[in-house]
């Protein structure tokens, strides 16, 4: 059902956990749907210095979280905001149709975390 890239990302996910001293957090999804994704970031001078995730969900959700966090580390906020779920899918070389929503969660978690950062900055 999943390609090798997805299984690889699921088996050996990068950036698992919570960033110490994070200043941005975004949690999307709910337990009833079977997917919850939490992304924490440390943003300094407009740049995402670090990002980590915790995910309750299927293999595609874990793989999407791992890929999405890897994609944003070192990027500016504006660059991170431009990341679409299709970029996550492309990086994973495809997801089954019923698992597309996992990549959407990743996109939403990034946006929510950045919103959280802005609100904490009082902007």
């Amino acid at each position: 059902m999943y390609n090798e890239k997805v299984m690889q990302a699921f088996q050996n996910p990068q950036n698992v956990g919570e960033v110490e001293n994070y200043n941005a957090i975004g949690t999307v999804g709910n337990e009833t749907c079977g997917d919850i994704m939490q992304i924490t970031m440390l943003i300094e001078d407009g740049i995402i210095k670090d990002a980590k995730f915790k995910t309750f969900g299927c293999a595609a959700a874990v793989a999407s979280s791992s890929t999405a966090t890897a994609m944003i580390i070192g990027k500016t906020i504006d660059e991170a905001l431009k990341i679409k779920n299709s970029d996550v899918i492309e990086s994973l070389e495809g997801l089954p149709p019923q698992k597309i929503h996992c990549s959407v969660l990743a996109e939403e978690a990034i946006k929510l975390a950045i919103e959280d950062y802005y609100s904490k900055q009082g902007k």
């Binding site: 059902m1 999943y2 299984m7 699921f10 088996q11 996910p13 698992v16 956990g17 949690t27 337990e31 009833t32 749907c33 079977g34 997917d35 919850i36 994704m37 939490q38 915790k54 995910t55 309750f56 969900g57 299927c58 293999a59 959700a61 874990v62 089954p96 019923q98």
Partner: protein
């Protein structure tokens, strides 16, 4: 890597004896059992003997056994055949909330055509109550269909009592015995049921073959029509090798039933004890140890708090262990299983459910390896889960 198969409720490997019994009927003795010549007579003789053997295994008469393509067809036939035959008598069918989808979706289809279906609740271990059934019967009720044993949580329903309730109201009774046959000792006459579905590949027989027992004197409408097969009641060229293989497999399953159950349940009990002592915050779904006589001997179903079934299932698969997800998420739907929700498992927790079903070829070493892998997988996934907060533990380990 050696793979370990812990999904015997999904299907079982064909036994060597059944395979050998089937072998001659693929190519050497290939005749159409309905042909009027020597080749045909050889096939017909094999089918006759298989029918007698299966009837004897189930306590039925040979002319009460009808061969079908499997449990799903048998269930479809029993429900639709009864609904059509008795449509002038009534339009009400009673079943349970935890039936296999072969019954559930057939009931849903019948609802589209004007039938009313009552889906009985079950208790927290999955048991249907005879008094609930009694209350649900109306003067429009034409059929009660309750599964013999549940495929997800292993609950063995009180079929004899339920059947007596239906019969007291002159209502027909069908049971889906796909999981029970070969694992629970029964006799159709003693149970009293009017119809009973079974499937070959659940008891080390071949896939694509099953049967429906229809008690003498019960008339239901035909589902698959065409030729004269099955005394004109089910068309389609008889699958002679499969029929022969199923009969042999059932004969062995009934012969070795006590021995196999004792062994398989010892593996299951070992697994359950180790898992519950090594992993906290889990539910053991279905009848507990004190009611193990009312649970399929091979079944263990666990819900693991804070993690999701598909992740567990794939991780197990990567470790060489084949089990089954209790949540339907892996099949593309976000709805968790009806059975788990019906016994009161919270939706989120139901997503983290895995069914392990053991078989006669499993070993103690395999069980121990599976426990070891499972513990490390659950710990790994929980460490990754945003829901896992050891400090805010709210659930207790179910012993």
């Amino acid at each position: 890597m050696e793979r370990i198969y812990l999904d015997h409720a999904a299907t079982t490997p064909l036994s060597k004896e059944a395979f050998e019994a089937m072998y001659p009927y693929f190519s050497n003795t290939f005749g159409n059992a309905n042909s009027q010549h020597g080749f045909g007579r050889d096939g017909a003789a094999a089918v006759l003997s298989a029918r007698e053997s299966i009837a004897s295994s189930l306590g039925a008469k040979p002319n009460e056994i009808y061969f079908t393509s499997g449990g799903t067809e048998s269930d479809n036939w029993a429900l639709k055949g009864t609904a059509l035959a008795l449509r002038d008598k009534g339009n009400h069918i009673i079943t349970s909330k935890i039936e296999h989808s072969a019954i559930y979706t057939t009931c849903k289809q019948l609802e589209k055509y004007g039938y009313d279906v009552t889906y009985l609740d079950v208790d927290s271990d999955g048991f249907v109550s005879p008094s609930d059934l009694e209350k649900a019967i109306t003067d429009k009720t034409i059929l009660v269909s309750i599964m013999f044993a549940n495929n997800e949580i292993g609950t063995i329903e009180p079929i004899k009592e339920l059947c007596e309730v239906a019969h007291a109201h002159k209502v027909l009774f069908h049971t889906d015995a796909v999981q029970a046959t070969g694992a629970v000792r029964y006799n159709v006459k003693d149970l009293g049921v009017d119809m009973l579905s079974f499937s070959g590949h659940k008891f080390y027989g071949p896939k694509g073959i099953g049967g429906l027992y229809i008690r003498s004197g019960i008339k239901i409408e035909k589902l698959i029509i065409g030729g004269e097969q099955e005394r004109t009641n089910r068309g389609g060229t008889t699958n002679v090798p499969a029929v022969v293989g199923m009969a042999k497999a059932l004969e062995i399953a009934i012969r070795d039933l006590d021995k196999n159950n004792e062994y398989v349940s010892s593996l299951r009990n070992r697994f359950v004890e180790k898992v519950t002592s090594q992993i906290d915050e889990i539910y053991f779904n279905g009848p507990k140890a004190k009611d193990y006589d009312k649970r399929l001997p091979n079944n263990a179903s666990f819900s693991f708090r804070y993690i999701e079934g598909e992740s567990i299932l794939f991780s197990l698969d990567l470790a060489g262990i084949s089990a089954s997800s209790g949540s339907a998420c892996s099949s593309g739907s976000l709805e968790p299983s009806r059975t788990l929700l019906s016994i009161g498992v919270p939706v989120g927790t139901a997503h983290g459910t895995i069914r392990f079903s053991f078989g006669k070829n499993n070993t103690v070493e395999e069980v121990d390896y599976a426990v070891e892998q499972l513990v490390s997988i659950v710990n790994r996934l929980r460490a990754m889960s945003p829901l896992y907060r050891p400090s805010t533990t709210t659930m207790k380990t179910i012993k």
